[in-house]
Symmetry: C2
Subunit: 508 residues, 2 copies
């Protein structure tokens, strides 16, 4: 291959697994669009009308005061805030179109925006499962093991939440242990939860210590993300708004993600759910820009539908696919980085989990999504993290990463010489063109088994899920912590100890 340097070499260091080395993925293909510019404008204008006429509840006095100062129409007797369309358009214009998110290992820093696509480890599931133990309540031991997998898999670009909720840790100090583990077990970009100002401040401080950055440097360099969900419809709650204020004041990126399940917390039509999503996201982003103009914000979409028979949320549906692609069009209209998810509603890491995930991954990629949350390990619509699903997802994402490598059509790739050399009725196995390229010509799978049926059967006839079970154990056994100065680890531990002594965070 003429440009062999672009073809990633296999990284066999990690448990003998086949994975390309860490790299930023760029989607050089054109964004895919399912709505016309007129249709996007119709959604845009309807959203602005919602914000002007109905408005949103901001359930935090400090937030309402900030918006009142900025000239918004704040109800004196209640939580309602109404927004002038010009105000929204002006404020969202100050958010950056792209920025760098810094990790403690500079080689793991990622670009957020442009045509870069970042895959995140699963987040926030209350349960965890594997094939042997079944489904358990989230706990700190699994939390740490899942982080180790996230660190070891190069296709995992960043952490975007607790990979499972460590329910066995006390709520007031959970964030301290969780962040300290996150900051030491991995060297990729970190995440803190917007559950009140104190937790964000503590998480940012651990992030700062891990990076050995000064307070001024942290202000210049986004280093930790958080998600702020609207409590849809049309409401932001107090702890989340405190989170926005702290994050924006520290110039740290907030992913504003309305929770707009069509038919439940949003209108039953996808377009209606998008109108509401767009209104909620824009109001949140505009609020963050009032706190600190220019602070990084990410446009988040989580619009899916419910099963109208049971009311249960569904993901990776055709409606989800359309909402994800249309939301990418909206994010681009506002020149904002875009977040969506690799989602599914399956109860097992089975074929359903795979095809629903693919019905999420392809739309994310086609939509030029910049941050794909829950990219590795999600199950049950987010109620469970599956060890096996992490491996299934890693394979699906590695395949997508290979798909994003441009198809070369230089003279050497067109292979006229090879076709001449071989001629009709022969084969290319020994052609010079083949011999020069065979080691790295094609994507080499992590999990897929391409052996013939008889060989596969003799080797135990393990299906993909059972092979994934074997692979995550190998990966976990081979985990090596990323280097960290002893002094840094001690400084993090000392901070955690001091904050625990002070009682941690107040309950919200």
């Amino acid at each position: 291959m003429a440009r062999a340097g672009r073809r990633p070499r296999r990284d066999r260091a990690t448990a003998g697994l086949l994975q390309p080395p860490p790299r930023q993925l760029r989607n050089r293909y054109p964004p895919f669009e399912i709505l016309s510019a007129d249709q996007i404008e119709a959604i845009h204008h309807a959203s602005l009308q919602v914000l002007a006429e109905i408005g949103m509840n901001f359930l935090l006095e400090e937030a309402r005061a900030i918006l009142k100062d900025a000239g918004c129409d704040v109800d004196p007797s209640g939580p309602r805030v109404r927004f002038d369309p010009a105000f929204i358009e002006e404020r969202i214009g100050t958010a950056p179109a792209a920025f760098t998110l810094h990790a403690r290992n500079p080689e793991r820093s990622v670009r957020i925006g442009e045509n870069v696509i970042n895959f995140c480890l699963v987040a926030s599931a209350p349960h965890v499962s594997d094939l042997e133990r079944g489904r358990l309540t989230g706990n700190f031991a699994d939390y740490c093991n899942l982080l180790k997998l996230g660190q070891s898999l190069n296709i995992c670009h960043m952490i975007a939440g607790y990979p499972v909720e460590p329910v066995d840790l006390p709520p007031a100090t959970r964030h301290l242990d969780a962040l300290a583990a996150m900051a030491t077990l991995i060297d990729k970009a970190l995440y803190g939860y917007a559950l009140g100002a104190v937790r964000i401040r503590d998480s940012l401080e651990i992030t700062r210590i891990a990076r050995q950055a000064s307070h001024e440097q942290l202000l210049r360099e986004p280093s930790m993300t958080t998600v702020v969900n609207a409590n849809s419809p049309l409401q932001y709650d107090g702890p989340m708004l405190e989170g926005v204020i702290e994050m924006a004041r520290h110039n740290q990126p907030v992913i504003f993600t309305p929770f707009t399940l069509a038919g439940a917390m949003a209108p039953i039509t996808v377009a209606g759910a998008l109108v509401q999503q767009n209104a909620e996201a824009l109001a949140g982003i505009a609020f963050g820009q009032c706190v600190r103009p220019g602070s990084p914000a990410i446009y988040g979409s989580f619009t899916s539908n419910v099963d109208m028979k049971s009311g249960a949320p569904a993901f990776g549906t055709p409606e989800y696919a359309k909402a994800t692609i249309a939301s990418g069009q909206l994010a681009r209209r506002y020149h904002l980085p875009y977040r969506a998810s690799n989602a599914n509603a399956s109860n097992a890491p089975d074929a359903q989990s795979a095809y629903e995930s693919e019905m999420s991954i392809w739309p994310c990629v086609l939509a030029h999504c910049n941050v794909v949350k829950h990219a590795l390990g999600w199950l049950e619509g987010g109620l469970c993290t599956s060890y096996e699903k992490i491996i299934l997802d890693a394979e699906m994402l590695q395949m997508i990463a290979a798909f994003l490598e441009p198809l070369e059509t230089g003279a050497d790739a067109l292979a006229l010489d090879a076709i001449r050399e071989v001629g009709p009725g022969s084969h290319f196995f020994q052609a010079a063109h083949t011999m020069a390229r065979y080691e790295s010509a094609f994507y080499a799978p992590l999990l897929s088994d391409w052996r013939n049926f008889e060989t596969w059967q003799e080797d135990g006839a393990l299906d993909a899920t059972r092979r994934a079970n074997r692979l995550w154990k190998e990966l976990l056994a081979a985990y090596e912590p990323p280097p960290i100065d002893e002094a840094v680890a001690e400084e993090i531990a000392a901070f955690v100890a001091r904050r625990k002594e002070e009682g941690g965070a107040p309950s919200n």
Copy 2:
């Protein structure tokens, strides 16, 4: 929904399964392109250079005579034919851009070309499997059962080969029993194998009788397809070329599909494999147009890669995805209908089979593929047909069909009234807008299980593959043969009996 008529109603007649009624799927989204116009021209010109300079082997004297008459450079001492670029461009220009393929039930006739996407039942596998019986050699009983599933599933638009090879039938008369069963068990468009002139003539005659069409009508109305594979590299064998001649003389559509596995029968680079695919497809199509200008032809792509460790074919790979999308660009350049496949190399109907299929289905749809072969039931790179995979595929394809329904953005869909009615902090379950639409608002799954974990577990914790096993049995048990006049069935049987008496087809 303002245009409720466009939303398919559920068809619960078939075994209580949720499936939309039969319909032609149109892809109104723009075709997705991964190569620039210049890159497509580079492949085009390289293909013409291959055909002019190296040429192809046509292993049938009659075919070479036809090409000699048409002005081609035919080697007097061997099978090699070389083609002038202007000849190729001129001849492929006479093939129609679109045509109707007639079924014996006119409601099952399909449009081939334009933005229509047709999904075909699996074809040509030597083995068949289900969860209980495991993997068996193909046989006539399973052949018939698989056809019944193809008939019952509305997402299956046409038959494109024997869903499994009925190996227990003698080769000389196998095509007679196979076509007679196909023509009676289903009422969708039929398929005959291009294994010599006699088999095609017999298959066409059964097709004609089933449709009760005159010979003249058959000449006007394409009614049966066949696939002609190049024996890559750069060779068409005799029986296949006889098939082309018979099909073209009867104005029946030929799907020209080179078998270009990169690294084996084609260059190891995807671009090189595409150059060779394009050369082989264009030469075949040009040859068919020499036999009968204007006879329908379909541009086929089957370019994938092999596993360079074992030489085993791989499908649903990143390379396959790119080749499938690029081939759609080539087919559109020539204004020809386009065929690709839903392919995978998994040994089991598991998560791998699902994600490799999705890595095929999405590219097919994005490429505006018109005929998706092996859309339902393929496994093991085509060596096995799986009953469970048919159901997995049906779900994946039904989801894609729903994805292709345009996202409505009319005033009613934007749902401002509903958002007003509900307001902040409430929910939409009882909103008038919801109540009016909840029965048909979203895609209802065939196989996916969206119940919560506890309910699913109490009900046996069946994964998607085991649920698929239950579903195909229900579907098969509920099969009802499509109506056929007794006289027509008798005429088919009499033809088969007569041809068997005559000895059937000669061996090739």
